[in-house]
Symmetry: C2
Subunit: 815 residues, 2 copies
């Protein structure tokens, strides 16, 4: 048996153990270059400390006093130095090779490291004119950091050049890949925190190279920042042997290079050599693929950068470790307001960077240092990809009307709701070959969207086997992105959209909860962008939920969860939209609208099976434009007050509500039923709370203010209650929906369990129409018996009865 890894590791790795680098360091920088880069690095670190501590005296022209310190000192120091260091080294190569480069900041709370770069490059002052490159501007810059009304300690939307906030960890690599797809010249340098690297989403996103085409896509250059500590714990990857660490990244398909140490001068040489080697290796791979026109998956280069946490901080404070330990994670010396010795220590530390040599008397970075940065849009912080809305071009969309079901007999015609959409998306792909992609976790074909493969196959840079010819639909140059990781595909899509392109993600409805938190964070990003003037709007992030709760059949209870809508409905009304098109034509209308929209998260719910159709294309467009409306053809209250409003939202829900309406009209012909359908869920809310909300008078025109409303809803019924809680006549609203009751059920049985089936709805109507009080008991009993009979069939045969399965609206409308 091998000796224990623990024992081996303790021996092999002293704190920042033997440096290991597969690039021979032959001192690529001359002494003058090292000096300048070191000075630039110091300028950056000085700014980081300024942001953490100072409200005044930004250049330390006076001795540092308590009143110069923020009353509450907040922020993080841990990963700042490593990030600034890496950015500075990329600057050198941008200038040398005229690179198009973006910087993705993965480690949590590392914003000072990159904000300082944007400020040193002048971009910060360009986008925020009050943060000038002088003493006053610097003071304002410092003060606004982690200060009420100011900016955060992540790479928030206010950060020039950022498309990745990193407040919630785990998405830097998938976001980075999203930015480089179809951006063949872009290199997204991606700092990955070693804390972040422990998360599941990050751990699997290393596999993204199997979906990257070296001809048509750019490259991601990850720098795993092994600084050893999280908030209060060592990191896993910093506590395994070099052998395991190297094997891990080879296993993930990368070629890891190691840059390790704490001596800044030798580290400059090592990083310069290694980063340059990696950039050249990327260029060589791309050249080979592009010249041969043969795409392949190389082992892409990456860097493991091992530097002390809190690098360049004092090694100890009062005998307790600071640099190289988790204590440097946040504010490195927290008590400077109350401990005069520590204030002095801070001052000495800040002065050790020599601000008077780095910044001119007026506060501006001295010219010989400014020269180290690129200029114009070559500056990472000014790269337009980092403000992707600037690059966004509207999609060239085919006319969605052409893809609809024709000659729809409402409630009678049956087609797959997804069928038309699949063809529409096929042609969207065909017409937008470099700025639209479809994303899905191995469910695209199952979700009846396979038609899209005719225009764009599945991107695949893994190995190919002979059998792939037999319907594999794989290609190195595909347009559909499928990996069994909702996190990764969502991360790709976010990165793709934020860097100026368009996309749609399709998923089984129940498992979209896996990315609740990612969608939450994207919504938050979009909302904050609305407050940032210089941010141009990006395309909406579109999510199609299918394989819905009502058609899970043998998949059972684990596959029944329509609750993603509740999560989305909590986000800001400025950025979220929820659509429940009842049929295929309305789905097309909704999809077209969503693909044209900007700055939203659009959620579309549509089941993948064959379903009743209700609307001609023209009717669908009109209905979707209104978002909610009365279906006259299904109603018999024309010109009169209805006895009951039968309402629905969702395809299956509408089917059952319509069948309930038919039951009422057949067995209680004098009951006046109004049929209302809701497509745009936020129509239900007050117009004071959401831009799509309706006024109370509109509400009354649809739902009345005093009639019972039986509302059959696709998802958990409570969502309708919360959206409508203060509507006139709200006490008459009886919502049915999924109530977390399910098993291996036929569709009808599942509906009965949750009281969303036609009989339950018709019975509810009878129970709530006051004038029927006790007068329809025989009809009610009939419905109860019909329901029981229908259930029994299913238990015997495993199938719903023909009558249930083949039900059609019995009152055809001439078309």
């Amino acid at each position: 048996m091998a000796p224990s890894a623990v024992e081996v590791d303790i021996q092999a790795i002293s704190a920042y153990g033997p440096a290991r680098s597969t690039v021979k360091v032959d001192h690529p920088l001359d002494a003058e270059e090292v000096r300048k880069m070191e000075e630039y690095f110091k300028a950056s670190l000085y700014l980081c400390l300024g942001m953490l501590y100072l409200r005044d005296n930004p250049l330390l022209k006076e001795p540092l006093k308590k009143e110069h310190i923020k009353k509450r000192v907040l922020g993080h120091w841990g990963s700042d130095a490593g990030q600034a260091f890496t950015w500075i080294h990329m600057n050198r190569l941008i200038k040398k090779y005229d690179l198009d480069a973006l910087f993705i900041s993965g480690p949590g709370h590392g914003a000072p490291g990159i904000l300082s770069q944007a400020y040193l490059e002048g971009v910060y002052s360009e986008v925020y004119p009050d943060k000038t490159e002088d003493e006053d501007g610097m003071r304002r810059f410092f003060k606004s950091f982690s200060f009420p009304g100011g900016i955060g300690s992540h790479a928030t939307p206010e950060t020039p050049g950022s498309i990745h906030e990193g407040g919630e960890l785990g998405y830097s690599v998938s976001h980075a890949f999203g930015t480089v797809y179809d951006h063949p010249n872009l290199i997204s340098l991606t700092m990955v925190g070693d804390g972040e690297a422990e998360t599941g989403p990050l751990a699997t996103s290393w596999h993204s190279t199997k979906f990257l085409n070296p001809i048509t896509d750019g490259a991601v250059l990850p720098v795993l920042h092994l600084n050893g500590y999280k908030i209060n714990n060592p990191t896993l990857l910093a506590r395994i042997s070099h052998e395991e660490l190297e094997a891990l990244f080879i296993g993930y398909g990368w070629k890891p290079y190691f840059v390790e140490g704490s001596d800044t001068k030798s580290m400059h040489q090592s990083m310069a050599a290694t980063l340059e080697h990696c950039v050249l290796e990327i260029k060589e791979i791309q050249k080979k693929a592009r010249e041969s026109k043969k795409a392949f998956r190389p082992r892409w280069p990456m860097i493991v950068l091992r530097t002390p946490k809190g690098w360049t901080a004092p090694r100890d404070v009062d005998g307790k470790r600071l640099e190289g330990f988790w204590r440097s994670h946040q504010v490195p010396i927290p008590d400077v307001l109350t401990n005069p010795d520590h204030l002095k220590l801070l001052e000495a530390w800040m002065r050790s960077y020599g601000p008077e040599k780095l910044f001119a008397d007026n506060g501006k970075l001295i010219p010989e240092l400014r020269e180290l940065a690129p200029t114009g849009n070559s500056r990472i912080s000014a790269n337009p990809v980092g403000n992707g809305g600037l690059l966004r071009k509207p999609l060239d969309l085919p006319d969605f009307r052409k893809y609809g079901a024709e000659k729809v007999e409402p409630g009678i015609s049956i087609v797959g709701n997804i069928t038309g959409l699949a063809k529409f998306l096929r042609d969207v792909i065909a017409k937008n070959t470099t700025n639209f992609r479809l994303f899905g976790p191995d469910e695209t074909e199952s979700n009846k969207l396979a038609e899209v493969y005719k225009a764009g196959k599945k991107v695949w840079l893994g190995a190919y086997f002979d059998e792939d010819q037999d319907g594999g639909n794989l290609a190195t140059e595909g347009r559909v992105m499928e990996m069994l990781s909702e996190h990764t595909i969502e991360g790709w899509l976010e990165g793709y959209v934020l860097s100026g392109r368009h996309g749609l993600l399709n998923s089984y409805e129940p498992f979209i909860h896996i990315i609740d938190s990612m969608v939450n964070q994207h919504c938050k990003w979009l909302e904050k962008c609305l407050e940032v003037e210089w941010r141009a709007k990006v395309a909406s992030l579109n999510i199609l939920l299918t394989a819905t709760v009502w058609r899970q059949d043998h998949n059972g209870f684990t596959h029944q969860d329509p609750g993603f809508l509740d999560v989305v409905a909590n986000k800001s009304p400025e950025v979220v939209r929820i659509y429940l098109p009842p049929d295929g034509n309305s789905l097309l209308s909704v999809a077209d609208h969503c693909l044209r929209s900007v700055n939203y998260v659009n959620v579309i719910v549509a089941d993948k099976q064959e379903h009743l159709q209700f609307l001609s294309m023209e009717e669908a467009i009109e209905h979707c434009t209104k978002g909610a409306g009365i279906w006259d053809w299904a109603s018999n209250d024309q010109g009169e007050e209805p006895d009951v409003v039968m309402a629905s939202a969702g395809d299956v829900a509408t089917h059952e509500a319509l069948a309930a309406t038919a039951l009422l009209r057949e067995f209680l012909p004098d009951v006046k039923v109004r049929f209302v359908n809701v497509v745009d869920l936020f129509r239900l809310i007050s117009e004071t709370q959401h831009p799509h909300g309706m006024s109370d008078s509109q509400w009354k025109a649809l739902f009345t203010e005093d009639k019972p409303i039986i509302f059959n809803f696709h998802s958990y019924p409570f969502l309708v209650h919360r959206l409508t809680y203060r509507r006139p006549g709200q006490q008459n609203l009886h919502v049915r929906g999924y109530r977390e009751k399910g098993n291996i059920d036929t569709p009808f049985e599942l509906a009965v369990r949750n009281e969303t089936d036609r009989y339950s709805l018709a019975i509810a109507a009878i129970d709530h129409i006051p004038r029927l009080h006790n007068k329809a008991s025989s009809v009610r009993e009939k419905f109860v018996n019909l329901q029981i009979a229908a259930r029994n069939t299913a238990f015997e045969d495993g199938l719903d009865s023909e009558e249930i399965r083949n039900w059609k609206w019995p009152f055809p409308k001439k078309i």
Copy 2:
């Protein structure tokens, strides 16, 4: 540059390319053993097909006809054979070495493979007496599979021996580790699907070995089932080179052994040798550690099992690939009801297993095969760990009253709410050294729970550095589990609880959304268990949410999301509980209750900062027992009708509501304010909808039916609206809460943005008390001005004003 991996792979791997195994296969089985294992394997596969297809003629005593086939054929074949194969080989070793073994089934929809084992071992018939080991029982067993009212195609709670359903993929490895912690003799054999292996949660869970102590814990033996395909796509890990695959698992810290092929007879030899080698290696590791009493992290053995997807199915059907391709994922020949040739093909296939030789005429497995399985509780499907409630022992809990704040002056005393809890949990750990663990994603110390390390340090089997002596709190034999992966720690906790132990997970509130879907699935598991008679109840899964939305300060908008409660509230009322204790003593009372409870998911929300205290321990117990109540000391409506009810749920929310009450009482002393606090959120719902719900008359006694209620809520306000939507006087309920408005804000500023601050609440009261109409306008204006003044202070200093920060209840109660 290296040649491209794609090119290399295409050459290196023909479909199931050169077999690779690091265990020398020296034919450990004699011919007779191989024959018997092959027969047992065939019996198992025959049962799998029977489950998929048959409703009658279970033993094929008659020619197979359409009427013997289920009317709807459902289920999955793809991974069945590989799983059955592995189980059977483990049986051999259980018998040979008297192992204590569990089987975790990771691949999606592989239930037939393991249900067949439970049936062959007799356990299925023991727990379901109608599924006898005879022809009738077999028919019923077949028919119930994927049939309405029957069982699902995952390892659902109805499956004997299962603690892992696998409907949602990604958690098999973390669940498996949860089962073996503190179960030193257990080996959890874990099949990992190669689709599942692409998910983020699974990808990072391989690192769990860094938290496994070979002395006090058992072992997980993963078998990565590389069958090559997901639903419609190849899997990543099946399409990388052997070199990468091997490196990946070495990098993750494992020692991978390969068993690859499709010829069943040679595969029996290979699997027997390799599995035995791995089991012996596990035992050797454990022996070394246990004898030396020195824990270490070895490279634990694991197996990569590469077999064709749909193994043993026909290679082609009508010229299209079946075995070894994704077409065998679900029902392998779907059209047997409509295609007579395919029905014949199915019959021939089923008969090729030779059912008449495997089962006696009465339908029972023949004795010589039955002998291959272990007996009694040694049978995997009968292992009590798989029905963990049987093993559950109540915690030995210290008296929580001892840990509370003493001499609480309500609204005046200030302590950290978590302080007492931390000490209580410390002693829970100290008194329950083998069946309680605390879990957290690197936030336990940040969440002010560091006191627990005095009783149990953080488990750490990674490398140790000298600096760890300086407050590292790491130990190989710790009781606190910290990894920066919410998915992994939740998976561990679920596995730990489901195998009969207890635990609590602490997390920042905003990032708990990362595991929405996992908690959803655990709730669904618990609910289904209630319907399974033989399942014993397990301990509740306890989640403490802290670092809450209202105290995020410089973390900003990304750290503000209290919406997990909405996700939980959608789950079945039978299994979810939500508590919002207002202070430290009530938190202790709630925590004690939760740790004693069974079969729930308990969510406790309590901020980690110092806060006002409101209740003595006795009052806290009484208040928490009621779940909601009037605080007389804060009310001035004694013996009268109140003008307004000021209500709150949540610590910060209560603080502000109390301050609003004080404002009203100071400036409008004749206004009668009743103060109501809610701890148990489901008290708000009707008693018809949740066991904790209150009746309408109880509701009226607290909230009145006609007075305005200003309800300050911790989370999104809509949740209260949905819980109370049909309460008497519901239209008078004005709920304030987080409305998705935030930035880098002081606590007061954040409250003002969301109108949950004291002034906004007091103004709302004025606006809604009818008799004040226009009579309190000067007071109202005063509140507006005070609010503005308080905001301005924060913008200048970055701190809330002293007055805001140090506010105390101005009407002290004698204590």
